[in-house]
């Protein structure tokens, strides 16, 4: 283990994530993993890392690090103001940190989640076959002021002698109003026709959320008749509707089973879009045929 960075300033929320934890849902452990898979995978692609290496996922920004050793890094995800020793550094492109350098991820201006990834990935304890942090399950250490982030001591973690990145046209963009594809949920037909239409025609606004769920506000979605449903499996992308009629989108760390009616499920390929929403952004749901 090689100490790479020490946290000088702690932001809103940051956690270590690899591709996720597979095979433990039946025990109530969600998959976790990156909220925005596209930006996560791009980081490892740019750095030529193995696909399942670990990145540090940052919500909204606010982090400052000091480099304990030199190394190559890349920042991907939400558009944000990032600096090395006060000098802006371009995202989606590798950059070097020398020992003692200060890296700051300030405010995010577009989107909400940023990934910081070193060459070779971060190193954390592997628990239940994954390096992804899952605080509710007491899995993984929370990253705070003073925490040290480690890397691997392998050749693949050595600094890259050249710059690699994605050209601007290939970088994802983050919009204030998005549309995502959905499948009908198992309880879609239990909702009134009006609510079914509202789900698919109106837009919903993000009022808040975290790695477990995103809270939406818009039309109040109602069941035809009050009915308790039996708990059943949920997943990242499940849109469930509690009694108040305001939908909640279950995210990467959400519980594996739920007892609220499921009106729809978001297409796996659109999950990164919803993950990058900011409070007050809006989303529309389009029914997917396939």
């Amino acid at each position: 283990m090689k100490p790479l960075l020490i946290v000088k300033k702690q932001g809103v929320y940051g956690s270590m994530q690899d591709q996720g934890r597979y095979g433990y849902r039946a025990y109530g452990i969600p998959r976790s993993g990156p909220m925005d898979k596209v930006s996560f995978q791009a980081a490892h692609y740019i750095l030529n890392n193995d696909k399942n290496q670990t990145s540090f996922e940052v919500f909204i920004g606010g982090f400052e690090f000091e480099a304990l050793t030199g190394g190559t890094y890349v920042l991907t995800g939400a558009q944000s103001e990032c600096c090395v020793n006060g000098v802006p550094v371009e995202m989606w492109k590798t950059f070097q940190l020398a020992q003692g350098d200060r890296l700051t991820i300030k405010n995010v201006s577009c989107g909400s989640i940023v990934y910081l990834t070193p060459k070779g990935g971060f190193q954390t304890a592997q628990i239940l076959a994954s390096n992804s942090c899952f605080p509710l399950g007491t899995i993984g250490d929370s990253v705070r002021k003073g925490s040290i982030l480690y890397g691997h001591e392998t050749e693949s973690s050595a600094s890259m002698p050249f710059t690699r990145g994605l050209y601007a046209p290939f970088r994802p963009t983050f919009k204030d109003a998005i549309t995502v594809s959905v499948f009908k949920g198992p309880h879609f037909d239990l909702f009134t026709e009006e609510s079914q239409q509202q789900l698919l025609q109106h837009s919903f606004q993000l009022t808040g959320g975290n790695r477990m769920g995103y809270y939406l506000k818009g039309s109040v979605l109602q069941l035809k008749e009050k009915k308790d449903i039996l708990s059943e499996a949920t997943q990242f992308g499940t849109i469930q509707v509690p009694q108040n009629g305001e939908p909640i989108v279950l995210m990467a760390d959400a519980q594996t089973v739920g007892g609220y009616p499921i009106i729809a499920t978001i297409h796996e390929e659109d999950l990164h879009k919803i993950a990058q929403m900011r409070v007050f952004n809006t989303v529309k749901f389009a029914l997917s045929e396939g």
Binding site: Y22, G23, Y24, R25, A26, Y27, G28, I29, I127, L128, L136, G137, T138, I139, F183, G185, P186, I229, L230, S231, E232, A233, Q235, G237, Q255, T256, V257, G258, T265, I266, H267, E268, E269, G290
Partner: protein, 231 residues
Amino acid sequence: MRRIINFPHTMWISQYTVRFAFNEVISQENFQAVQKFNWFLQKNLQHKLVETVASYHTVTAYIHQKIDIKCLQKQWLAMQMSTTNEEIPSRHLQIPICYDEEFALDMQRVMDYTRLTYEEVKVMHMSKAYLVYLIGFLPGFPYLGDLHEQLFVPRLKKPRKSVSASSVGIGGAQTGIYPLDSPGGWNIIGKTPFTLFDVHEKNSFLFSLGDQVQFYEITKQEYSEIKSKGV
């Protein structure tokens, strides 16, 4: 005579998720069907399958390759027609509980609601083996049923801010054990000295879906002894 279980209703939840649903009721019959079908999927889908989650009436399959539902239907029928009746493995677990007042935070509420005595609540709670119908809500949290009807007590109106790990609760038709310190609304009637969930152990989870669980009473001293040995 053996009963043929109809192939469950099939629905694609997303590109990589299929939901198989039996009738929406909590019953032993459904439990058997779900266990059988879950086992059938694992056996027949193998490498196409990432994992499954079974509930009271559904089995949800997370896959990473397209699967042929028609083919599954044929295999399901064939399996049931075959004369070799394969047993689905099921574990029987004996779980100690201490019902001492120190742990039974909601015993008074349960006694008031059910009009049973302390002793009657305990005896009734231990009177039968429960099935692990579902695991979720928290990592390793078992939903055990079916509770004796006389023990049906609604959940707390206002959930407790913190219920300590290994507390045993009842709520509605179910009983369960908290694997971690967490907020919770079940009526707490005791505590087990066992640890339900420890990520650092090789066998991280005490319970698996389909287990049969029998509770037995221990004294506070026995509780401390087992606890100090660490199980």
